[in-house]
Symmetry: C2
Subunit: 484 residues, 2 copies
């Protein structure tokens, strides 16, 4: 029996999808086993399938080597069991560099080796706002510096977030109750549309699987439902190369135990054959980021005053990449987590990046329609995004190895590649000049960078050893030194 749908060729790291007509059972979400074995040159991917409604079962695979792939379907349904087929995996094109992996302990790269420097933003509930606002958000993202987005599967109930979503993940309703054994495929297809939109923009989806801000019951499902949900969503989405699994936003505000989270991690690893990045985000207390399933630290700062200034300490403690996914948002709402200045957010970006980590943006400006970027998306109103773009460009033009904290001075933060490349950043300090004491025998080109006004002043000549650099005596100045 031929597969109902397959494309003859697919790009490496793109999605090959099989759509199969299957049996109409009491509950096709739970009654039917469906697995595919996909093989190419000795590489085999075992990929679970899922029920997508209307009698259609699907299997999606992300082929990760180029060549001819063959597959065979195994199912408890005779309608699907034994199906075989093949397709060709061709080389990727455009911005398709594969999924993001950890590289060099503290940094990231796409699977094709291209460095990936996360400059993320936060729109927790943007996929629950209806098409008009969601498409506005995509337009805003397309002209933004952001290449990662923190977003929740479930809708959000919280201040500034009392609107009802159009779609829910389960059959039923909040009033009548949910049938937690039956998923709503339309909900997931909508989510997948948005993941695909993000993929086309080159944006990684840091997908939050659980969160506490809830009035519908999705934060308090029974253990079997949690597991079924995880299996279903990971099975559906793991072929999207731009998916990262964030087990929770603020795991410690949820009524779940550490053993629950550990079990959830196991389920994700079981059903994601591509080993997408995995993290878990805190409110008050960090999760134990040394746990082997955690690929990188997704941190909410726990001190009001020292946020990204601690990145190098966290790197040393966990020996993993550090992304400060919440260090407070630019805005002016009532809460301290959402009313810092653009200047302060950009300062926190520079601190975190020069200490060898990464920082995530968010925006919470009061809005008459309560459309706050941090949750609903919409337009960006703040002053930080262009400065974050400026920083991203500087990082991308660097040596390409990711930055390491180089503790040379007590009153500046320095990141770089020792003996090759340094950026000194003075944050809120305002030096009128500095004496630098660099290694002898190396010539440096020196640039004075105004990180707020986004100017780079390349000084004439080269510098060596001890030298004095005149500075503007303003805050937010950096000095870049590149060995010549």
């Amino acid at each position: 029996m031929p597969p109902k749908k397959s494309t003859g060729q697919v790009q490496q790291w793109d999605i090959f999808e099989l759509a199969l007509e299957g049996p109409d059972t009491e509950n096709p979400f739970t009654d039917i086993n469906l697995t595919g074995e996909f093989t190419c040159n000795g590489r085999t991917i075992v990929q679970e399938g899922f029920y997508d409604g209307n009698g259609i079962y699907k299997i999606r695979v992300m082929p990760d080597i180029q060549g001819n792939w063959t597959y065979r379907i195994f199912s408890s349904s005779a309608l699907m069991d034994g199906i075989t087929g093949s397709f060709t995996c061709i080389k990727p094109s455009g911005i398709n560099h594969g999924p993001v992996r950890v590289r060099d302990t503290y940094h990231f790269a796409y699977e094709d080796g291209t460095p990936f420097y996360p400059f993320g933003t936060t729109c927790y509930a943007w996929t629950h706002q209806g098409n008009e606002l969601e498409e506005q958000t995509l337009t805003a993202l397309s002209v933004s510096p952001f290449n990662k987005i923190r977003m929740c599967v479930f809708p959000k109930h919280y201040e500034y977030n009392y609107n009802e979503p159009e779609l829910f993940p389960f059959e039923g309703s909040a009033e009548r109750g949910w049938d937690f054994k039956r998923f709503n495929p339309e909900f997931f297809r909508h989510l997948e549309l948005r993941l695909r939109n993000l993929m086309e923009l080159g944006i990684e989806a840091d997908l939050i699987l659980f969160h506490p801000y809830d009035r519908w019951g999705f934060s308090k499902m029974d253990p079997e439902t949690d597991e079924r949900y995880l299996k279903y969503i990971v099975t559906r989405l793991s072929a999207f190369r731009n998916v990262w699994w964030s087990l929770a936003n603020e795991y410690d505000l949820m009524n779940k135990a550490i053993k629950d989270w550990e079990k959830f991690a196991g389920i994700i690893m079981r059903y994601d054959p591509y080993c997408h990045l995995r993290s878990i985000h805190n409110c008050f207390h960090f999760y134990d980021h040394t746990r082997p399933w955690i690929t990188h630290c997704s941190i909410q700062r726990v001190d009001v005053y020292k946020t990204t200034e601690l990145v190098n300490e966290w790197r040393e403690r966990y020996r993993k990449p550090v992304i400060v996914d919440e260090c407070a948002y630019e805005g002016n709402i009532n809460h301290g987590w959402g009313n810092i200045t653009g200047e302060e957010l950009v300062r926190r970006f520079w601190e975190g990046v020069l200490r060898g980590g990464y920082v995530t943006h968010g925006e919470t400006y009061m809005d008459p329609k309560e459309i706050l970027w941090w949750s609903k998306g919409g337009w960006l109103h703040g002053s930080s995004p262009p400065r974050i773009a400026f920083l991203r460009k500087i990082v991308e033009e660097g040596p390409g190895k990711g930055l390491t904290y180089v503790p040379l001075e007590w009153d500046s933060v320095c990141g770089g590649v020792p003996n090759e490349y340094y950026i000194f950043y003075f944050g809120f300090f305002r030096p009128s000049f500095r004496i630098f004491r660099m290694p002898k025998g190396m010539q440096f080109k020196v640039d004075v960078i105004d990180t707020w006004n986004m100017t780079i002043n390349e000084l004439p000549g080269t510098f060596e050893g001890d030298f004095r650099i005149e500075l503007p005596g303003r805050s937010y100045i950096a000095v870049r030194m590149r060995k010549v």
Copy 2:
């Protein structure tokens, strides 16, 4: 034999000085013992005398009760031994409230009970700059909010401080060597003139007895010289009611051991019958401020980012008043300790004061003549002093008990008197409104204070329980609540 000089009456806490002609010995600084016993209504002060040059020996006493005082002089010199006399101590007038004492564990008051809220500044070497600049400094101080000044006995050698002082504390010279057994009375008389000038302005002199920034040898004297110096200066100055003893600026940069500092503290206590305030100031590591001789913590922040935000922790640790005498200075010089903005310095003041401590100002703006306030005095150029004056006024208009940290919210700092008076401060946060949850059954008057623009907006009516206050969505806003 009558005393050579005595005034018939003296105000309480002012200086009664006896000047006696004494013997011309080989070294009158060390050869002669001279002590006075001063008695009034059962109170006796035993006060050492000192040699002031030109054959004159002096004894100074600060009478601390009103009434008729009699005295008797004891000396190894028959010329002075046995002298008796009397004077009348009358009630103080004007700004004379007596010396400053610790009150209520964490705060200060003058001896007459008037609260003293330290709002200090820093001019380390101002008395070594010659009369013209010194008088300019006094003029600047007279129109400033500052009521305490950190100042060194010895001249200062450091960046921006390479000028040579006119006077030195010892006979001799840097070239020919010092005769450490012979003081230069002119040096001390000049210092006393400046202490008297400060006293007349109502400014406490936080007098730093040792410091490491030295090219003349005063930081590396032998132990006997250190002791002789301490005995001499404490004997000369302890009758000045506005003197505080700061054993060191940055004790841990000096080549002295803890046992040396402890010995020095003993000498000070031995020769200061008035028990002036005593502290010792750190660079990298706090001294053990639990030591019983330390009256209050004189702190230099040891973290680049968290400075006065730690005041409440230090209060709890040491159970003494906390003065953050260095939290970085407003300015634009090369060093991080001297180039923060006025906004940031004022923010640190509010943080420290609302956490129940006190904060000290300093200013380090580049100057073509290298006259930087922090060391030489001169004029004030910064933006923080008027805002510090504004804060001082608010504190002085408060309940008069000193502020206590009231940890009500994670994203504001609140200081006050519980159930009576609260000031919430939002620092760099920018709330557009806040919901306050105050104790039921109390009516509060509410003021919205812009700490930078120095405005107080008293809201109409009174507020009780849970209520919402609209705020300007800018940084540096405070909300004051006073129970009616």
